[in-house]
């Protein structure tokens, strides 16, 4: 038996969480409320068993709390996901762990980060077209195969997740962490791989003016990936909090704006005219070439759509929540591009050119390899400094929900601590 945080959705609880956080006050208080009504509890349950060969047991060292976790627990994630998860599950998909079993080429006791996507390679059986093409984040078989439905580790009842003391993973999910990379940086590799993937998906032309809406973990790591992997021109970041401004500048933001002045500032920086409808936010005729929505909130997407130029691209990095007026997509002929998880794992066949018209090819080794290299070099000290034991999950989630306000970037669990 082991301690783990378990998510078990029951309709009344789900609705309670949703209702509480969908009011204005609730939205602001979501961190506090989450701790009272979230369908999460600390349980003692059996360690997950190995589904097949090529699977290993893992002992999580650090497990991050993702924005999508907070959305899920405050009832803001879409009911859409209900079909691609299996209950009850242990959340936690940003994991740095120690292996407890030997694998060919990966001795027991190795430190690894987990690519959480539960794709064909993990599930067995005939791979789908995407997995064949090395784009396993698009896998069509996330409800099939030898483990229960679950888009990722952390949403699947059979695998366990990072918010428990033990979990299982398939060899194809593992990326060994070099000794030089400490746990606090290693736990950022998964979100960084997502950022790398989103930057590839956006296909940013050289010299393009880029807008990043949001400077939490996703926004900051997207900025890092943009500077490292593209020849983007100016990069403007919309950030609420002073420490986010400082961090964004450190990572190479051209300018950082408060949300309230973003429209005017982007207009000044990128050109165009500012239009002020009677109702709703200001928008630009003109604006940035590419915008990354990195808040996961409807208001962030709304801003991105309004501040991108005609024919420009808006990339959805955060899991979207809340309704948004899509008029600009139509009127400004925007490209609205999604980016989910990451692609190109180390064990998959060398990734060929992406078959998708929006993206560029993932290089061999995939986003995780790139993320690993970036995590080692980038100025990420202090990004993970709020670490909680599982028993303090209420405070941890409250902290994560208000990370920006509290001066934090990434809040994580150390499941081995009591």
């Amino acid at each position: 038996m082991m301690p783990a945080l378990e998510y078990r959705q029951s309709t009344p609880r789900f609705l309670a969480a949703r209702g509480a956080s969908s009011t204005r006050l609730g939205g602001r208080m979501s961190g506090v409320l989450a701790s009272n009504v979230a369908p999460l509890r600390l349980v003692h349950r059996a360690e997950p068993s190995l589904p097949a060969g090529e699977w290993v047991r893992l002992r999580p060292l650090l497990s991050g709390i993702c924005g999508s976790d907070v959305s899920l627990l405050t009832g803001r994630s879409s009911p859409y996901f209900g079909a691609v998860v299996s209950m009850p599950f242990v959340p936690g998909h940003e994991v740095v762990a120690e292996t407890l079993d030997d694998l060919p080429g990966l001795a027991k006791g190795s430190r690894v980060v987990v690519d959480p996507v539960l794709s064909c390679a993990v599930r067995g059986g005939t791979p789908c077209r995407w997995c064949v093409a090395g784009q396993h984040s698009r896998c069509d078989r996330v409800t099939a195969g030898r483990v229960s439905a679950g888009l990722q580790t952390g949403y699947c009842t059979d695998t366990g997740g990072g918010w428990g003391r033990q979990m299982v993973a398939h060899a194809a999910q593992l990326h060994q962490v070099p000794d030089t990379l400490d746990d606090r940086r290693a736990v950022l590799v998964e979100p960084l791989a997502c950022a790398v993937h989103s930057v590839r998906r956006a296909n940013v032309p050289a010299g393009a003016a880029v807008l990043i809406v949001g400077a939490g973990t996703v926004g900051l790591l997207t900025l890092l990936a943009l500077r490292a992997l593209t020849k983007a021109g100016p990069i403007y970041v919309v950030a609420k909090h002073a420490h986010q401004h400082a961090r964004a500048r450190e990572l190479g933001a051209t300018e950082v704006f408060q949300p309230s002045r973003a429209a005017r500032a982007v207009r000044r920086a990128c050109g165009g005219t500012l239009e002020q409808p009677m109702i709703g936010g200001d928008f630009l005729l003109g604006g940035a070439d590419v915008a990354f929505e990195c808040t996961g909130a409807g208001s962030g997407l709304d801003m991105a759509l309004r501040l991108v130029r005609a024919g420009g691209t808006v990339l959805l990095s955060g899991m979207p929540s809340g309704g948004v007026d899509l008029t600009p997509v139509w009127f400004r002929e925007l490209n609205l591009v999604g980016s989910y998880a990451s692609s190109g794992s180390a064990t998959s066949p060398a990734a060929g050119p992406e078959t998708d018209e929006q993206g560029t090819a993932e290089p061999a080794g995939g986003a995780f390899a790139e993320a690993m290299a970036l995590a080692a070099e980038a100025p990420l000290d202090g990004y993970v400094d709020a670490i909680y034991p599982l028993s303090r999950w209420r405070e941890a989630l409250g902290h994560a929900a208000k990370a920006g306000q509290l001066g934090a970037v990434k809040v994580a669990f150390d499941p081995s601590r009591n």
Partner: protein
């Protein structure tokens, strides 16, 4: 005879003195020994304004009478000062209306039918039809608007003409219609010593390309003050440009001056010296103060903005511009000049609700800065009322409030430029070009009612000399955050401000309060 200007030294018997503070005012008790500079009493007005205009047109200075310059078939352009003058606005009929009506009458008699009226609004916002009508009067408006009565457009590529450059290489570019006329007649109101003269046409009908030669940090730092044309680098540039203009087109100017009757009767105490207030003044002060303090901000603004000043006209002079202007300046000095002996450690200015750029609008923080450190600080001849390294104390609430239609580039200037730097020279080097040529601002200037994109820069440069001169700047009653963005400190009261000033000027500083409005020009010996 009205009494000359006067410097009061505050003693035990001095009553509290009136200080303006935006859309409000208060009675302030100044420390003993504070010097308070009052302008001369309001001058008696010209009894018959129409006769004065008629005489000026018929017996002009260094020019044939106006009728001799008019002939049928000619192109005549009448240009007039825009809404930035006078302040507050003049109770109708505006003196410009009267002058223009006389000129039009003479033109009609001479059979001139190609007549255009152009407001010399330079890079200011366009005036609305109602605002134009208020200046030129109903009859003229009906006859000429909109085809032959319009605002100057400094961004109309087809509407400008480059007349050449001065010996200093300064571009002279002005309104094409005016430049290609046989005669420009200019109807002015000369409220302060900085306006009128060479400035009228070259600036009022100029373009950014032309204005950048004198509206810049270097020139303003060498204009000491810009209310003293002989010592103003800015005016030297105007003069050089006027020479180029004079070679291209004939200008007949009519300059007028007003007395200090800035406020109507029911707030007549605002026009009087405090120790001479009768019981009626005391009561109307209390009533007005109470009503004003209680009024909701919007109503308060409307009341102040609808204040029509019952000015009297003190002079009308016409003829050759460089010959007329000295007479005008003499009239301005007669009304405004007060001699002050020496500088002090601290200068105090109460800033009123109005400046040239917020008529029917909002006085935003940048305009507050330019009104205080630009206009009021520079109301001096010879030397500033405060010594170099001394402290400037200004009264204004300085709310962070902008008129979105009139001042769009000001908002961006405040939000983007000032947080980077408040140094005028750095701002000029890094940002001016960008703002001045931003197509959106240009579009709004031309088609909406926005000040030109570069205008907030000029406002900031206006204060460049004061910023360099003063050791500290404190705003009494100002919004702290807003003041900080601009690089100033805020104090809750005069006592608080004096306490803060101690670091710079010690514990027993000499203080001079320039009592205004009405406008006083301190001649500091």
């Amino acid at each position: 005879m009205s009494r000359p200007g006067f410097v009061l030294e505050v003693d035990e018997r001095t009553p509290p003195l009136l200080v303006h503070q935006g859309e409000g005012f208060l009675l302030e008790r100044f420390p003993l020994g504070t010097r308070v500079v009052y302008p001369p009493d309001s001058l008696p007005p010209v009894a018959n304004v129409d006769a004065a205009i008629q005489r000026a047109l018929m017996q002009p200075v260094d020019s044939p009478p106006l009728p001799d310059l008019l002939r049928s078939g000619m192109r005549l352009t009448i240009v007039f000062d825009d809404i930035s003058l006078p302040l507050p606005q003049m109770r109708p009929p505006d003196i410009r209306q009267r002058v223009i009506e006389h000129v039009l009458e003479l033109a009609a008699e001479a059979g001139v039918d190609d007549v255009e009226l152009i407001a010399a609004n330079s890079l200011h916002r366009r005036m609305t039809p109602a605002e134009l009508k208020r200046i030129v009067g109903e009859r003229v408006f009906r006859a000429f608007f909109p085809k032959h009565l319009r605002n100057h457009d400094a961004e109309d590529p087809d509407g400008l003409v480059h007349l050449g450059t001065t010996a200093h290489g300064e571009d002279v570019e002005i309104n094409r219609r005016a430049a290609e006329s046989d005669l420009i007649v200019y109807a002015n109101i000369n409220l302060t010593a900085m306006s009128g003269g060479s400035k009228s046409v070259t600036v009022g009908l100029g373009s950014y390309r032309s204005l950048r030669h004198h509206h810049n940090v270097h020139t303003l730092r060498h204009s000491r003050s810009f209310n003293d044309p002989p010592n103003s680098a800015m005016h030297h540039s105007y003069d050089r440009m006027a020479e180029v203009l004079g070679e291209a087109v004939k200008v007949f100017t009519i300059e007028t001056t007003l007395n200090l009757d800035s406020f109507p009767n029911h707030v007549g105490f605002l026009n009087r010296r405090e120790w001479e207030w009768g019981i009626g003044d005391q009561l109307s002060y209390l009533a007005a103060k109470r009503a004003n303090d209680l009024a909701p901000p919007k109503l308060r603004r409307r009341l102040w903005q609808s204040n029509d000043a019952p000015y009297g006209v003190t002079g009308v002079n016409a003829g050759r511009p460089d010959s007329v202007h000295p007479l005008t300046l003499a009239n301005v000095h007669r009304q405004q000049l007060t001699e002050v002996q020496g500088q002090s450690d601290i200068g105090v200015w109460g800033l009123p609700f109005i400046c040239p750029y917020n008529v029917n609008s909002i006085m935003n923080p940048i305009l507050v800065m330019s009104l205080g450190l630009g206009y009021f600080f520079n109301l001096y001849r010879n030397q500033p009322i405060v010594r170099r390294g001394g402290v400037g104390i200004f009264y204004h609430p300085m709310p962070k409030e902008f008129h979105p239609v009139h001042h769009p580039s000001y908002i961006d200037f405040f939000e983007e430029v000032l947080p980077q730097t408040t140094d005028p020279a750095a701002i000029e080097a890094k940002y001016e070009q960008q703002f001045a040529t931003d197509p959106w601002y240009t579009h709004l200037y031309r088609t909406s009612y926005a000040y030109h994109g570069v205008h907030p820069f000029y406002m900031w440069y206006w204060g460049a000399h004061a910023m360099e001169h003063l050791g500290d700047v404190i705003f009494v009653g100002a919004d702290r955050k807003t003041a900080a963005v601009m690089g100033f400190r805020a104090a809750s009261s005069l006592a608080d401000a004096l306490e803060m000033a101690r670091d710079t000027v010690g514990s027993s500083p000499s203080i001079t309060y320039l009592h205004a409005p009405p406008v006083t020009l301190a001649d500091v010996r």
